[in-house]
């Protein structure tokens, strides 16, 4: 799942070198996912899912405690984060966060549907070589 998240972040970072702060660009994946998934599951649904992903990611990346999910489902606390944490660490943390979010999607609706949803947002990113598993939460996240 980390390969998956890394690929999305790399794609977004590459295409948005000039816009916004480095931190904001790294988390642009979350914003794109939010806009797309909110149409499907509503604000409340997305917020719940993203909050769970953040809680799971917190266990691996302690500095993510400074980030929170706002009422509209977007991430808050990103500006402060840039001043406290090195950009490489932020990039690593964002990979963990989005890997958890994508992992939750796979757990709920399966790899095939998750891949389809992601393809709608990033049609140019090759995903066929990724193994999404069968959505079993007991599997080790890759």
């Amino acid at each position: 799942m980390r390969d998956f998240a890394e690929r999305l972040i790399a794609y977004e970072t590459k295409g948005n070198k000039s816009s916004g702060t480095k931190t904001a660009v790294v988390f642009l994946v979350g914003e794109k996912l939010r806009l797309h998934l909110t149409a499907l599951m509503g604000n409340v649904g997305f917020r719940a899912l993203f909050s769970r992903a953040l809680a799971l990611a917190n266990a691996e990346v302690p500095w993510l405690h400074t980030v929170h999910v706002k009422a509209d489902g977007s991430l808050g606390g990103l500006d402060e984060l840039g001043a406290q944490v090195a950009s490489e660490k932020i990039a690593e943390g964002s990979v963990v966060l989005f890997a958890q979010l994508l992992g939750l999607l796979v757990a709920f609706i399966g790899g095939s549907l998750t891949q389809r949803l992601v393809r709608e947002m990033w049609p140019k990113i090759p995903l066929n070589d990724l193994d999404f598993g069968n959505g079993d939460k007991n599997e080790n996240p890759k």
Partner: protein, 522 residues
Amino acid sequence: MKIQNDAGKRQPLKRIASPPAKVTIRKLPTGVRGLDDILGGGVPEFSFNIIAGTPGCGKTTMAHQIVFANATVEKPALFFTVLGEPALKMLRYQQQYSFFDESKLGNAIRFINLADVVMEKDLNAVFDEITKQVAAINPGIVVVDSFRTVVRKTTAGVSEMEMQSFIQRLAQFLTSWEATTFLVGEYDPAEIRDNPVFTIADGLFWLSQKAERNSIVRKLQIVKVRGQNSVPGLHTIRISEGGLQAFSRTLAFVPQNKKPARRQRLSMGIPELDKMMGGGVLEGDSLLVAGPSGTGKTALATQFIAAGLRNGEPGIIAIFEERPKGYTDRADSFGLNLKTPQEKGKLEILYLRPLDLSVDETMQEILDAVERIGAKRLVIDSLVSLEMALAPGFREDFRESLYRMIVALTAAGVTILSTVEVEDTFTGFSFSHYTISFLTDDIIRLRYVEIDGQLRKVMVVIKMRGGNHSKDIREYVITSKGVVVIHPRSTDYDGLTTGIPRQTGPRKAQKVESGPEPKARK
């Protein structure tokens, strides 16, 4: 304008005023097996429908089946989810069904969450959001699940007139945009009279479920569907891996063949019995073989099927207790090979056992098998076990459903042999405790009689609707060849039908039998 007639003279063309053509309403497939027939061909295009019922009846699944059956990239389906089942969970569960085609998601089927609008705004905002999405996507199918939630949340403080106006506007808009709409909701039957949505709707599909002792029975009623004839009444529905399946009360069986005008007589596989029946059973008849346990009903039924197979007539044996292997093994012991015709697709042994089976489902399984192999003969062994296999709630409908199936199949020229256990009393001579003899054209009764210190078996043809038959009571035995009718009628006894006959003729010397009848030896 003039035309030239044969004589070369010009004659004025007669104008024949033809009546204006009435509109043809296209009917959309529902994707729910059996439902199109119940609806009278499908869902009328551009209609505004309600799928209502209590939780767990399959409302959302039905809506999904309709969506997947109709959505295309050119004419997509819009599925608005509200505060009911969360979208992720809905996708999680619905993808388990075989109709779920994920390649349609995103392009042919779009899910849009209305929960935020419903939670934060009013009816006008809900209307605006729906119209905005419909105008942008131009869908052929629109589903709102659950519409009940939309109404509940947004109508706090809204008058009944405003509510009616909202539904009216929504119905008019969606119809004008050439969308066929389904509003899914949990409603109570008592609301039908007062809720404006039911008045405005063109179609109302009511799903329900009730517990019958340990069985759950799901039912569907088409309360209304404008512009076409639906099948009235409650129809059984089942939810399985294929989604919902509906079983019409009228068993929508369209026979491939009709009963021939001149019917031939079919051999029962027992030459003496054929003679007793005036040459055999008439093609397309329903024959009941009644008798107590151990009198050879199954043997007789197997011989009937085997005779058909020898004559190139495919057959079905529907059994409810004994496993197919036991059945074929017993046939083997009579020298009747049922395995080869099974392998060649000429014979199917249907083993129908689930205890919550509805009678319509059972009938449908049998009808499907008959259609599948083009069966000419059908054995139902036995009616008692068939009834036992049904959920308690369905047993009341047993005779009615059996009647419908027998009528449907015999009309198609299928000859049916049903067996039924009857308890022999030594005072009466009943044919069946189901009083279903009115369903059958022919009846053969088997029974035990006490003669000369032995419990022997006799048979008699009670009734043959299609012609004359022997009135003889004939003794028979079950040998390694199956049922074999032996002696001619006996005139030395009377009262055979009571089971305890009185000897009237001379007493004959009795042979000592060394062993038991060689019944079913392997």
